[in-house]
Amino acid sequence: MIATLRSEWIKFRTVRMNGVLTIIAVAFPLVIVGLTALLIDADDMDGGDLASLVSGTSIITGMLLGVMAAAGITSEFGFNTIRPTFAATPRRMRVISAKAVLSIAVGAAVGAAVVVVSFALGATLLNGRDGDVSLPAGDARMGMVGVVVFAAIVSLLGLGLGMLIRSTPAAVAVLILWPLVAEGLVAGILFAAGIEDAGKWLPYQSGLALSNTDSSAASDTLGRWTGGAYFLAVTVAVGAFGAWSVSTRDA
């Protein structure tokens, strides 16, 4: 398993697109947080506000990491490198497990780095302009922890969708359109049908509860950790279905 992980890590870091996507995923929150901290009135932003900004912008980081994980596996099918991969490691579940571990690790590591660095950047800039920002406690802090967990789960979701769908544009489209379109549509239909609390059972909305920095404003979700666990469960189900598909189909 260690050898397979090492091999997958070499694959990951030797494709330029992964480097470019990682830079964009890291740069996006940094730029938004940096510009906000420079332009806003320093007195208007405390630690909780900054945490909310960091958490919110880091959701995009998570999505980009999901795209990267999806493209990582779909490109294996697209370029047929899945064949030498399985020829070198015939136990397919070992390869899939290594890819899952790597996706989660990259999602968590990049997510954590983004949160820590962007909060530190925002706090430094604001405090340099006579602001008074310190690391918040409670929900605000948990929201920043939660968005790191969110990034790790979305990375795993990207891998699962990629294994199921195999085509890069289609897998990425599903990953992006699922939260932006599909869940909104489903929620709207269910709401129109008179089911008012249906939103809490939408996987992606539940996952977003992980990043909430004010739980009182999110009473219509399952809550941070329950919602996160539900999102994780759906992701694991997608991943398991994808793994079953890859294991039982011709490579």
Binding site: A3, R83, A87, T89, P90, D250
Partner: protein, 303 residues
């Protein structure tokens, strides 16, 4: 030693490979021949567990491929030189392969040197010619110094020097006692390269024999005679029931009697012979005859 036993693979209702069985012996180059669409590549993918067979399978030294813990140490396979990420360098392609089987990453550079790509290892595969990709693929095969080598059309895209190099490499590997299975549609190459042949058509075994046996069994054989009185000798042979074809005024090709019989007839009639030799057709002729009933795609006559 590779043993393929009852290998069967269906795509929908069409049998790509049907109950195929053959053995590949160590120390010899075994050519895997068949017309386009005969199931060679599917068979190879099934042997490596990439396509999942509907029945049967292959063993390598008695074990199925999926049970090999570090397969690159035992079986090196090149199914298609295009199975590489174009954005990755050749060296990094070999490095992830090496890492997957616990090989030191330095093996990548050794293998690149062996195939003559030492200077191009850092370049992205996108910039490689097809011949360079074939060499990179062969480097991947050699990474783990395996006892068995499986190559699907390794000469594709290679220039004459490259084709000769592949031939020398495969004969060298077989000379070291390794088991070598190689498919190719270049029959003249196969004639020079292979000792044994496995010929399939429409997914079924047609022949497993040596190259010489296939030519003997299916190839054309005739006696070439050159003589100042070739025409007269030809008439005498025809009168005896032989089929005679004139090549020019002094040369005829005789089918039917042996060279000895032709020589004795000439001696009896005091016909001077300048040449009397047995001729056999090419492997290509033998192959086409062996597979004439199982060609998937046959061209119509040119008009």
């Amino acid at each position: 030693m590779i043993s393929v036993n009852g290998l069967t693979k269906r795509f929908g209702s069409k049998f790509a490979v049907a109950n195929l069985s053959f053995d590949v012996r160590p120390g010899r180059v075994t050519g895997f021949l068949g017309p386009n669409g005969s199931g060679k590549s599917t068979s190879m993918r099934c042997m490596l567990g990439l396509d999942l067979p509907d029945a049967g399978g292959a063993t390598f030294g008695g074990r199925p491929y999926q049970q090999l813990e570090h397969p690159l140490h035992e079986v090196g396979a090149l199914l298609d030189a295009g199975y590489v990420h174009p954005g990755r360098s050749g060296r990094n392609h070999l490095r992830w392969l090496a890492a997957s089987n616990g090989l030191p990453l330095s093996r990548a550079d050794d293998a690149l040197s062996t195939v003559g790509l030492a200077d191009a290892g850092g370049k992205r595969v996108r910039t490689y010619s097809l011949g360079m990709k074939q060499r990179l693929g062969l480097a991947g095969v050699l990474l783990g110094d395996p006892g068995t080598v499986i190559l699907d059309e390794p000469a594709n895209g290679l220039d004459p020097e490259g084709i000769r190099w592949i031939r020398d490499v495969l004969r060298f590997l077989a000379g070291q006692g390794k088991t070598v299975l190689v498919s190719s549609h270049l029959l003249s190459e196969m004639a020079l390269m292979a000792n044994d042949l496995v010929v399939i058509g429409k997914g079924q075994l047609i022949e497993q024999c040596t190259v010489d046996e296939l030519v003997q069994r299916y190839g054309d054989r005739w006696v070439k005679v050159t003589s100042p009185r070739a025409q007269q000798l030809g008439e005498m042979l025809q009168a005896g029931g032989a089929t005679v074809q004139a090549v020019d005024d002094t040369t005829i090709e005789v089918r039917g009697p042996s060279a000895a019989e032709v020589g004795e007839l000439a001696a009896r009639h005091q016909v001077v012979l300048h040449e009397l030799s047995n001729q056999t057709g090419s492997l290509e002729d033998a192959f086409l005859k062996a597979t004439e009933n199982v060609q998937e795609y046959q061209a119509g006559a040119l008009r």
